[in-house]
Amino acid sequence: MFSRLVWAVAVLASVIAAAAQSTVPQSPPKNGGDFASDPKVLKKVPSGVILVKGAWASASDSVTPLPEGGAITNGVLTNQYFGISYALPPNWTEKYEGPPPSESGLYVLAQLSPTEAFKGPARGTILMTAQDMFLTPLPAKNALELVNFSRKHLQADYQVEMAPTFTKIGGRPFTFFAYWSPVAQLHWYVLNTEIRCHAIEIVLSSRDTKLLENLTLDLNKMKLPDGASPTEGNGGGEFPVCVKDYAEGDNVLAHVDPVFTGHRFNSVPVRIIIDKEGKIKHVHYLSAFPDQAKVIGDALAQWRFRPYQKDGKPVEVETGIMFGMARTPARRHTDNSMTE
């Protein structure tokens, strides 16, 4: 009798449970979010556009020229920040723009390749980059040290054809460095100088050395600012003076640290221009999420600096600061020498 009762209760419970399951109020079909039952294609997601960006470059104003702000118009590359103007060789073009500035301070200013109309036994490439010497983790203080570092740490696939050597391009001092890959039969010519504390490198590569020589000679038509130098490109003249680590120590009269509340594990390189009164005039965020740029900008607006003086007169000064999870540059050695 008791067992029958238990069985009956169990059956009743299971029926109730089943009924409860079948009457669980199901959510109505959702609309929006992951669901769109009413197609209304006002605007398709465009292909070939980066709409969701990671850390990217931005600036506090849209007037001050930026290192990455160059453009090619009517076959002429112009970069106002660096004061460079370069008429591209005939039948050369930039098919694709370079990547955004890196968190290590590398800019791809131009990457050129031959057009379909190009005639020659082999193609080639022209790559123009700028490395911010304040922000590089490589052990080099200037452009010359950077090219010497490249030469000394050339990977085993390459052989040096000409060690870094002084030359002139457009009437400005440069270093010339050449190496090649025997297996690839490819040659690289690296021309290097420094402008506004950025190592400017023009890298020519091809299997055709005659093409490379002609491209090198053609570079002589490039217009460059007075201050370009592999060791002395510290701005001044038409540009602010650039001074490494100026935003440190006694130069900083007041400062407020930015507090990251969102993204916080990336390095955030920033380049600032300080006016003659010691206030922030311009902030360039090389690689930052918008929330990071906001808090850094708000903090920097409260910083005050000792005005930089040149020849007894206050002048604008430009420097770099690394916020976030910054790496300490590995200072293995410095090398200003030219060797055979």
Binding site: N31, G33, V45, V49, M162, L186, M338, E340
Partner: protein, 515 residues
């Protein structure tokens, strides 16, 4: 011969010592080499198609043959085996953990009943190895997509097959870069990016109370396709995962600095784990810190099985966004409570105590990288010499800046000697790089933006059918070309590939298919 001057020239007067060799740089004599203007076929014949092309073009007299992707290598060459010290069962008992994980990796999961339950209510597949299949368990997608049969073979009977799942196309997951507005248009101000599971348990006999398609609808794939608001991912191969996992952050950071010494315009960064800020490294955007996290997330997201790392059943991103979550009738379908996958304290042997996620992680951790060396491509043996030449070319033109043949040595391993202080020939720096508009998927994961991807490890590439993160192509040359686009770090290197002659390009392709 050019006379070079030893100088330390901080001052302007040093310039008077500059050799006056420009304009008209006195290029050293050895710079002026003649080049091989004509691409000459040498070494291994590159396959029937290329031979025919060569003959045709020879008679046409106007062009030279193009390099061709030799395709997937013949045979698996032992891919899918355990690391050597694991095979040797050192330390004692470890081999059982590998074989147990390998077996669980192949188990077919059901919704309720049986021992392997917990599937759903939303899922992309019902078995790890159905996606990680090629050329052996643990790999990438197979030539035949098992998802294509799911609506007809009882796995997902109440579902509509999305148009992008085809019989011989890539095995895929789908994501919507943006949420939809309530009127059906794309909400560009609301990035989504989460996985939209392809299937539901609706219609299955073991789905219990979750059998109302109105209560558990599939995402709006047809509309997403029409509005171009969908991107795809294919399974990442897991070979050698334990080696990648055991690289210390400092090793990767040192490698990153070394990588910056390049003349190709490349400078990557790392994705970071949101909890402790250390470098994450698994997944197409390096969004996962460890194999455990990778396995736990996949079990939850791809198969709908809650586990000790992800203890709840997962709603779609939009279901949570709308404050609804999963409908109550579709919760706890296995009847076991949560998490559906747990460790088994009373089980024997030792390996059986582990939860599935830990077993999966061990399997991937102890899985050896694919063997390399001489290989059969297009039915013909390719010599080690040719492969070595291709490897050297690959490095010379800058591919190895990111696809680094060794990012460093692993740290001391507490698991087994094959993971301890050994090189990691993954052909990856494990950094994320801007890959430009062509590859951008507009999905952000961690600190990786819409066009940033982890340098994909290339081991096993020779046996992969579908290439790039979304499986868009089976052709290596197309995959290389797609590395170049606006805002890509790889554009210059892609140009260098096409600066090589045809024979050199072919050697690189053969090398890649030897991996």
């Amino acid at each position: 011969m050019l006379r070079l001057v030893q100088c330390t020239p901080p001052a302007g007067e040093a310039r008077q010592h500059f050799p006056r060799f420009f304009p008209g740089i006195q290029f050293p004599e050895n710079l002026n080499r003649s080049i091989e203007n004509k691409p000459v076929l040498r070494g291994r014949v590159v396959g029937t198609a290329s031979v025919l092309a060569a003959v045709t073009l020879f008679f046409a007299g106007t062009a030279f043959p193009q390099a061709v992707d030799p395709g997937v290598q013949s045979g698996s060459r032992g891919t899918g085996a355990a690391l050597s010290s694991v095979q040797a069962n050192s330390p004692s008992g470890i081999l059982a953990f590998f074989t147990d994980g390998q077996a669980r990796f192949q188990e077919v999961e059901v919704v309720s009943g049986g021992t392997n339950n917990g599937l759903g209510p939303r899922f992309n597949s019902n078995q790890c190895s159905s996606c990680h299949a090629q050329p052996a368990v643990g790999g990438s997608g197979a030539a035949t997509n098992p998802q294509f049969e799911f609506t007809s073979n009882g796995v997902a009977p109440g579902n509509t097959l999305p148009s992008f799942i085809t019989a011989t196309g890539p095995t895929r997951e789908a994501r919507f870069p943006f949420f939809f507005n309530s009127n059906g248009s794309v909400n560009f101000n609301s990035p989504n990016g989460g996985v939209e599971d392809l299937f539901t348990v609706t219609g299955r006999s073991d789905a219990g109370s979750c059998n109302n398609p109105n209560a558990l609808p599939q995402p709006s794939f047809a509309i997403a396709v029409a509005e171009n608001n969908v991107i795809y991912r294919i399974p990442t191969p897991t070979y050698g995962g334990g080696l990648i996992e055991n690289l210390d952050d400092s090793t990767l950071l040192d490698n990153q600095v070394n990588n910056l010494n390049n003349h190709f315009g490349i400078a990557g960064t790392f994705n970071h784990n949101g909890n402790d800020g250390t470098i994450s490294r698994f997944g197409w955007k390096a969004q996962n810190k460890s194999l455990h996290i990778f396995a736990g997330e996949a079990y939850n997201v791809e198969m709908g099985i809650s586990n000790e790392l992800f203890p709840q059943d997962r709603p779609l991103p939009g279901e949570d966004q709308q404050g609804l979550g999963l409908t109550p009738g579709c919760l706890n379908l296995s009847g076991t409570g949560y998490p559906e996958d747990t460790s088994n304290p009373a089980a024997t042997p030792n390996s059986a105590v582990l939860d599935d996620v830990s077993a999966f992680a061990n399997f991937m951790r102890f899985l050896a990288p694919p063997p390399t060396g001489s290989v059969v491509l297009n039915g013909q043996q390719v010599s080690s010499t040719t492969i070595a030449a291709g490897a050297s070319l690959f490095s010379s033109i800058g591919c190895a800046t990111c696809h680094n043949p060794s990012a460093g040595n692993t740290q001391v391993s507490n698991f087994t000697s094959s993971l301890s202080q050994v090189p990691v020939p993954a052909y990856s720096d494990l950094e994320i790089h801007n890959m430009g508009t062509e590859l951008a998927d507009n999905v952000s994961q961690g600190t990786a933006g819409g066009d940033q991807f982890r340098t994909a490890p290339l081991w096993g590439l020779g046996q992969r059918i579908f290439l790039l993160h979304d499986g868009r192509t089976t052709n290596l040359i197309t995959a290389i070309q797609d590395h170049a686009s606006h805002n890509s770090e790889a554009t210059n290197v892609e140009e260098e590939f096409f600066n090589l002659n045809t024979t050199q390009q072919q050697e690189i392709l053969d090398f890649l298919r030897s991996l």
